[in-house]
Structure formats: structure tokens, C-alpha cells
Symmetry: C2
Subunit: 305 residues, 2 copies
């Protein structure tokens, strides 16, 4: 799947990923109204609204982008109907040829991580049958529990030729509280980065490993170091746009081949119609505003490389 991701990036010349994180506030009123008329102001209604919102944005942008990253929390907050909308979104994006990165940030002790791994990337055995519960292409993984929380994901990645992005240095303001702590003079995130490189050695695609890393756009200097620590890891870079990261900060996350990183934008794309810059589209044409924002993001990032 890492090969497909690289291929999609080469084809679109766009090392970006659209974060499908549909807060209900982002969904235009007319989409909400229609969903609530059908299902009421219920979890089902909210789930229908975010699904219709996603679908419109995907339809308007899929030809420009290599991948999407649905953040499962934004669906899980609407309970079972929300999670059904997550599954529908994953399936729809895959039908459209997009690589789907499930932003699930799971991670637990071995036997439990194994359950997450088969649930999201693999097949679960039920009697004599095996079923694919969610079936994303990649997922994000939290490393706090160490190797035996990550190994079950590696096992499934190997079987399914899928991948993970391990949280190394997250984009949020307080990420340094634990991640930046110095261990023998070296920050913890670097130690995690070294592990990512080691975990990924056995799981190589043509050019890059199945095992990638999450490093926030908001910390470009750390990105520069981590790029060297994990030369074969694709870096998923959140924090561009609304969180403060800019195109010029991103060059260091990439390798000299122009590959090796994929930059996420969520709010900046999916709620573009709310920005002054795109307000000419109006709420009705929110998905066209997203398309314009994707084009601008691609230009910004291409300019920085």
C-alpha cells in the first residue's frame, strides 16, 4: 500500500492528504437540515449529515489528491451511527482510488493491539470465515506502550501489505510535555523515531517502508532531524494551515527525491467555504470551495519544495 501511496502522489504531483474530520459545525446548514428532516436531530441525523458532507467533498477533490485521512473520533462521537458513517466514508474513498489513512491513534498491550490491527487493517476470524471489519489502508498508532503494542500492527501490515504511521512528534502545543523530554541528552521523540526506523526495516516497499511516522508541521526543526533518523519512513505531517504550519516550513520533511512526506490539512480544506478567501463560493457550493483550497495547498507546497 506504501507503493500505491507513492504512485498516487507521483500521479497527482500532490504530496497532500485531506483530513476528513467533519465536525458538525463545519457542515453547511442546508446539509444538516436535510439530514435532520430525514432522521431527526439524532445520532443518525448527525451521521447522515457528515456522510453527505464528506461525499460531496470527495466527489469534488478525488481527482486532485492521493489520499484522505478520516479522523475516527469525529465519527465515534456520534456513536454507532457515526462509526457507520466512518465505514461508509472509508469504503467510498477506496472506490474512488484514494489511499485511506484511518487516523485512529490506537495502541495497547499485545493481544489488544492485535484486535485493533485485525479490526482496522486485516481480517478477523469468525468460525470458519474471515471478515474485514473496517479495512483502511493505513492507520495511525500510539507508541506509548512500546514494541509489543506495535508488533501486532506490523504483523498484519506484513500479511496485508498495508501500513502504519506511528506518533513520533505530534502537532499540538503541549506535545513537548513528554515527547521532548531528554533521555541521555536526546529527546524522547528521537528515540521513538529510531524505533520507527528499526520497526520499518523488515517491511520495505519499493522505495519506502510500510512503517511511517507522524511529525507535526508546527515543529519544522524537529522534522529536519527526524527526516534523517528515519530516512525510509514516510512522514505524515499534520498541523498545516489551520494549526499554524506553512508551506515554507515543510521542505525539511521531504527527501531529496521530493518524496517521503505527505501533508495533511483538515479544516483548511473541508471548511474552506467559511474562510474569507473562499466566501464567494457560498455555503451551497462548499465542496467547490474545498476544491479551490486543495489547488491552493498544492501550489503552496510545490512552491516550497
Amino acid at each position: 500500500m506504501i507503493n500505491k501511496l507513492v504512485e498516487n502522489i507521483r500521479k497527482t504531483k500532490a504530496p497532500i492528504v485531506v483530513g476528513l474530520d467533519p465536525m458538525l459545525d463545519y457542515v453547511p446548514k442546508h446539509v444538516q437540515k436535510k439530514a435532520f428532516q430525514e432522521y431527526g436531530e439524532t445520532l443518525e441525523g448527525a451521521a447522515e449529515a457528515i456522510w453527505q458532507f464528506n461525499k460531496a467533498i470527495v466527489d469534488q477533490t478525488y481527482d486532485l489528491i492521493p489520499a484522505v485521512k478520516p479522523q475516527i473520533a469525529m465519527y465515534e462521537q456520534f456513536g454507532l451511527p457515526g462509526l457507520a458513517a466512518f465505514a461508509k466514508t472509508v469504503d467510498y474513498c477506496k472506490e474512488k482510488g484514494l489511499v485511506v489513512i484511518g487516523d485512529i491513534k490506537r495502541g495497547d498491550i499485545g493481544s489488544t493491539s492485535a484486535a485493533y490491527a485485525v479490526g482496522h487493517l486485516g481480517r478477523v476470524q469468525v468460525g470458519s470465515k474471515s471478515c474485514r471489519p473496517f479495512d483502511e489502508d493505513f492507520v495511525t498508532v500510539n507508541p506509548y506502550l512500546g514494541s509489543d503494542g506495535v508488533n501486532p500492527f506490523l504483523k498484519v501490515c506484513k500479511e496485508e501489505k498495508k501500513g502504519i504511521f506511528v506518533l513520533v512528534k505530534t502537532s499540538n502545543p503541549s506535545s513537548g510535555e513528554f515527547q521532548d523530554q531528554l533521555v541521555d541528552g536526546k529527546p524522547l521523540y528521537e528515540l521513538v523515531g529510531e524505533k520507527v526506523a528499526a520497526w520499518g526495516e523488515e517491511l520495505m516497499g519499493d522505495e519506502y517502508s510500510y512503517v511511517g511516522a507522524v511529525v507535526g508541521a508546527t515543529y519544522p526543526e524537529m522534522g529536519k532531524i527526524l527526516r534523517k533518523v528515519m530516512p525510509k519512513a514516510y512522514i505524515l505531517v499534520p498541523g498545516y494551515g489551520a494549526q499554524g504550519g506553512k508551506g515554507k516550513d515543510l521542505a525539511h520533511f521531504f527527501n531529496e527525491d521530493g518524496l517521503g512526506a505527505i501533508v495533511n490539512s483538515s479544516r483548511g480544506i473541508i471548511a474552506a467555504y467559511k474562510q474569507e478567501k473562499y466566501e464567494r463560493y457560498g455555503e451551497e457550493a462548499f465542496a467547490e470551495a474545498s476544491r479551490a483550497a486543495v489547488k491552493e495547498m498544492i501550489t503552496d507546497i510545490q512552491g516550497a519544495l
Copy 2:
């Protein structure tokens, strides 16, 4: 809710929690067969099997125990039907008067953690209505992203008088890989423990804080230190029984009042019928074997205190 947990522990004299982590392998063949006859060898069939398994165990043990801890991964691996069984299990246990600790180990950047917090502990706004998606009493939280990943949970805990258990030192063999790293001569888990104590100060119940910690039974010496670092935090102690922790290792996790810790056992209780010790019950009476295992666990722990 921390007050209810303490009250339930006092009433039952049992500082234990039953981990409802129903791997399909634990579910007796006759329960699986019945579920598969009704729903086929499908995710729905698996979900029905684990729900019937849980229900039988809860019916046989609820009068002896204060709380249960369903591990959501064991449900999530069966996709949407599995998560429906999780929700049904949560609701059923609450009806039986049990405190429900959702072992979800979520944690993300602020706005995303907020979605998990309302989804699992609070209410989510849908138009003019507010809905309760999963509605556990406590959840477990991963601290790797720092304070701004935890704060949204604290906010919801305050509003709802609910609680969290933050991962401090997990029970698995490789937990030390990152958690034990020395930061200024002090292990990272101690730093996290200090944060737990600080986060909990503003959220006090009668005797203990809404903010607890997870510390594995497999690391009793670290439990001793962490008990002092977080005197008002309830410690959720996994790793007893099948993972190797023993009753005598547990004394240090408790305060002098005999409170302050709650010990989890999953496999040791729910799959008790598979142990030589309880094989006289046979597969048909698996839930009675669980009841016997609960009684023995209570005796073992009371003896250690």
C-alpha cells in the same frame, strides 16, 4: 462517579474489576454455535456470541463486584456489530448497578480528544438536541500527547462527575521501552504520575480524585513509588492473574485506608472454565466458573491487604 466506585468497593469488600474482554476463543462452543445459527459466521454472529457470553458472566458475578472494564478493542475487531455489543454491554452493566470503565485508551490533540470525551463520557450536540453516544462511567486515556490531549476529558469529567484513568505504567513486558526512560534522573512514568496528581487536584470526589491512573500489577516496586506520587488517584491495576501479577504484589498499590486501588482480571475470570482448577464446571457452566474465580480472587486480594 469516583464516589460511587468507592461506595461499591466498600459494599462488596472487593477492590476488583472484571475485564470483559471477550476474545471469541474464550466463548464456549455452544454459545458460538447458537449465535452462528441465528446470524451466520458473520460479524453479527460474533457480536451476538460475545454479548451472550458477557451477559451470562455479568448475571453470575454482578452481586460480588463493584465494576467491570470492557476493552473496546475486543468489540471493535468485529466492526459495527461488535461496537453495538460494546454499547449493549455498557448499558446492561450499568442497569445492574456496576461502575463501567471503558478501556478505550484514546488520546489525541485537543479538538479530537474533545470528540472522544463527549462520545464516551458526555453528551454530543446535534442541532437543538444533545445525545449520549456510549456513556461509560470512566475511560482510560493515553497521555503521550500531553496536557492538551487530556484537558478535554477533564472538562467533560467535571461536567458529568465522571472519571478517567491515565496510562502511567502499563502492565506489558515492553512498557519500559519509553515509560522507564530517565528524564533528569527520574523515569518518565513518574513524570506522568506527577501530572496525573496535578490534573486531579481540581477534580476531587469525597476522598479520591476523578483522575486515576493505570499502573500494571507486574511492576509492584513502581506501584509503591507511584502510590506516593499520586496519593489521591485511584489506581487501576491490570496484569493480575494471567499476565503474572499476584495478590501479594498488590499491597503497595493501596493506601492505608484499604482503598485507592482496583485490580483488574480479564482472562482469569471470564475464561476461568478453561483452567484446570475450574474444569469441573464444564463449558456449559462457564459463568459459574467465573463466579468461583471472582470469589477466589477476592480472597487472594483481601489476604494480601
